[in-house]
């Protein structure tokens, strides 16, 4: 049996991974489908038919402007996913090189500056900083991405440094050093490929945290601006109507919950898959 097939069998046997993957794909799929088709135009208001409970015409009911909630959730998935993914890319793009550099020059001034810088970013209350950023640059999806992305940087930097430090003591790295390869080349050729699995797992987790953070920011009005639907703003809009039309609060909340749950389960599943030692120990 090839390694790939074994991996696949492992994956299918991993319940968290399968459930997580299915849930995540449902929402990613909904977001993708929404580019081509939604049940109803999310820009079309129908005020006489507002706050309708779920029915055949509107599977998840309508909101306070008479818009179709299912369509809003589908289009809103785009915003959430896009913001969270780009924030992860920012975090990885800056954090991983910083972590690699710190590990390569362990104990040096660079290491110290990078790690203290990390501590410093961690010391700032993230949500307050996000609010500050939007106060400076105005609320928008882009600024939400930046605010979330900044706090992803130290996460990846620290993770990469920790994993890389142990790799630097491995024989094959020592051999490469003896062969005269420089720190940059070793980091790129020998260290990075061996931390990829770890980064994928952490990336999934930061992705799910990003979805939660985006929801929180747009809930307080600092994320994507209307008329672009966003899950957090749908919740904020529904808040005063919660006793009149609870479905307006329940469905967007469920969308956030299920997406985050799916990504977390997927992260757990991937970790088990990539680290057979843990998997064996668990079985």
């Amino acid at each position: 049996m090839s390694a790939g097939v074994m991996m696949l069998r492992g994956a299918l046997g991993n319940r968290s991974l399968v459930i997580g993957l299915v849930l995540s794909l449902v929402f990613v799929g909904a977001a993708l489908v929404s580019f081509a088709w939604v049940p109803q135009d999310v820009g079309a208001m129908d005020i006489p038919n507002r706050m309708q409970p779920p029915s055949g015409a509107h599977l998840l009911g309508t909101d306070h402007f008479g818009r179709d909630i299912l369509s809003m959730i589908m289009v809103g998935a785009r915003t959430s996913i896009a913001v969270a993914v780009v924030a992860v890319v920012i975090g990885m793009g800056l954090g991983v090189p910083l972590g690699l550099a710190a590990a390569a020059r362990r104990g040096s001034l660079i290491d110290e500056v990078i790690m203290r810088g990390n501590d410093l970013v961690f010391a700032f209350p993230s949500l307050l900083i996000a609010i500050m950023i939007t106060a400076v640059f105005g609320p928008s999806a882009v600024n939400a991405i930046i605010a979330i992305g900044i706090f992803n940087i130290p996460v990846f930097a620290r993770l990469t440094r920790g994993a890389a430090l142990s790799l630097w003591t491995r024989d094959y790295v020592l051999a490469a050093r003896v062969a005269g390869k420089g720190a940059v080349r070793i980091s790129a050729e020998h260290i990075l490929p061996n931390v990829t699995n770890l980064l994928i797992v952490q990336g999934t987790i930061q992705f799910s945290l990003g979805i939660l953070a985006e929801a929180a920011l747009s809930y307080v009005g600092l994320g994507a601006q209307p008329p672009i639907p966003s899950w957090g703003r749908m919740l904020a809009d529904s808040q005063t109507m919660i006793s009149l039309a609870p479905h307006m609060a329940i469905f967007p909340g469920m969308a956030i919950l299920l997406t985050v749950l799916g990504l977390n389960l997927m992260g757990d599943g991937l970790r088990d898959l990539f680290d057979p030692r843990i998997r064996r120990a668990r079985q």
Partner: protein
């Protein structure tokens, strides 16, 4: 021992709660409000919440607004106006005392007016005092105010919260410990939560019926709803979520008061920014807007459509809404005529209140239907002031102008919507100089028609004053002719 003290503490706490509970039904009231005042000086800040707590309750001016918006005598029991309309001689009430026990006399009036118009004044409505050239104390109960020109609105100006009488003795601490002459005394302020006022036993006029009143600040609309439902507050003045009012109406425990405010809610248009410098485009905007849909969608039906910048409850109001009826086809042809057959893109900057945020989403959808694309940005007030009001960097915005009788802003070409029209400016000059009521009415009607014809802004609706109160509370003002929650006549019915 520890146990003992604990239980004793508990017992007295319980007794206290019970005592308060009994008293509340008679002479106490807890009033919910959405916004907390930043400080307690009505003469040094624009925040409406300051007046909403203090006006008429703690502070009084020479004249005062009645519940119907009329200007009545306040601390001045009478006045005489000279032939040429430039000298006002006020006779003050005798025996008026500030809450700290000092006497209110002509010196205090002079101090208050001079302070408001001084060079280093931080009065948010300094323009109200602009025409005053001299304030003279004739004797302790007589004050003579001289103006540079006749001003038909002078007594009206003096009724504003920004013109209340303060004392030099207590001015230094006014922001945290306001000392006025009103029927209530300021008691306590727990910042972020509540302000308490108590009856002034030495009040010069009709004493307040309530013994104590607490203003509780609940900014979140959901929390406001829950607080009223749970009877944590006895009344909520300026209820922020119109969608919840039908639930209160259906509940016999509550009464819902829907009145009028001075808030003209308008789609402010940057008259100097292309393409809004073309009157055809502005006219197209006016016809593209479905006012009723906005009132229904944003305010759940509460609000009166307006066709100009004037309060509908005012006797001089002219209903011009029919001139700009909802007609998207006409709007499209007007746009085509102006050279925008394919529409254009503009900005729509929205401040925090829900009339703006919700109304903005609806207007964006309505404008999209005639080909105008809008980029919405939701701003906080500070950002809105910076970008829109001061920076004039906007295409469209939605805001409610809550100052009473503020049509004069259209005469200021530097005002943020930048309407610069010599005819209108002359009209306002005539109005200021005119003191004959008939002639003033005619001028006001002309002014309303002028700005409606020029489609300076999109005129949406008059903001409704929404209050919910316990069914047994009597004496709340029905309308909001100024930003005030006068509690002096409020009491509980048995």
């Amino acid at each position: 021992m520890i146990y003992m003290t604990f239980t004793r503490g508990m017992v007295s706490a319980l007794a206290l709660v019970a005592g308060v509970g009994m008293a509340q039904a008679k002479t106490d009231i807890i009033v919910g409000m959405q916004l907390e005042p930043p400080h307690l000086d009505p003469t040094g800040g624009a925040a409406g919440a300051i007046d909403e707590v203090l006006y008429a309750n703690v502070f009084e001016g020479l004249t005062r607004f009645g519940p119907d918006g009329s200007v009545n005598p306040g601390l001045a029991e009478s006045w005489e106006i000279s032939e040429d309309g430039t000298v006002y001689t006020f006779t003050l009430h005798d025996g008026v005392m500030f809450h700290d026990g000092t006497t209110m006399d002509g010196e205090d009036v002079k101090f208050s007016l001079d302070r408001a118009r001084a060079e280093d004044s931080v009065n948010a409505q300094k323009a109200l005092f602009a025409g005053i050239t001299d304030v003279e104390v004739v004797d302790p109960l007589t004050v003579k105010v001289t103006l540079d020109a006749p001003n038909g609105a002078f007594l009206f100006n003096l009724a504003w919260g920004d013109a209340v009488i303060v004392a030099p003795e207590s001015i230094d601490d006014i922001k945290t410990n306001p000392i006025g002459t009103g029927a209530f005394k300021f008691d306590n302020w727990v910042q972020g939560d509540r302000i308490e006022i108590g009856r002034n036993p030495d009040y010069w006029g009709e004493p307040a019926k309530l013994e104590r009143a607490t203003f509780k600040f609940i900014s979140d609309p959901t929390a406001a709803f829950a607080a009223v439902m749970a009877e944590d507050v006895h009344a909520f003045l300026g209820f922020p979520a119109p969608e919840n009012l039908p639930q209160f109406e259906a509940d016999p425990r509550f009464q819902v008061l829907v009145g009028s405010t001075e808030g003209e809610t308008i789609l402010s248009t940057n008259n100097k920014q292309a393409p809004f410098d073309d009157v055809r485009v502005r006219k197209a905007l006016a016809h593209a807007i479905d006012r009723q849909a906005i009132i229904d969608g944003a305010m759940f039906g509460y609000g009166t459509p307006i066709g100009t910048h004037f309060a509908p409850h005012h006797p001089d109001y002219v209903d011009l809404t029919a001139n700009t009826a909802y007609d998207p086809e006409l709007a499209k042809s007007l746009l085509a005529e102006a050279g925008f057959a394919d529409g254009f893109t503009t900005t729509l900057k929205l401040p925090p209140p829900s009339y703006a945020r919700r109304g903005g989403e609806i207007i964006a959808a309505q404008l999209r239907a005639v080909g105008i694309q809008t980029e919405i940005s939701n701003l906080e007030w500070a950002q809105w002031l910076e970008q829109v009001f001061t920076g004039k960097d906007f295409g469209l915005t939605i805001v409610s102008h809550t100052e009473p009788m503020d049509i004069g802003i259209y005469a200021n070409p530097d005002y943020y919507f930048q309407y610069d029209d010599a005819d209108f400016q002359n009209l306002m000059e005539d109005l200021t100089a005119e003191s004959d009521p008939e002639a003033r009415s005619a001028l006001l009607r002309q002014a309303q028609e002028k700005i409606a014809e020029d489609h300076v802004n999109g005129y949406l609706f008059q903001l409704a004053a929404l209050r919910v109160a316990n069914a047994k509370i009597v004496g709340l003002w029905e309308n909001m002719p100024t930003q005030a929650n006068d509690l002096t006549a409020v009491y509980w019915e048995d």
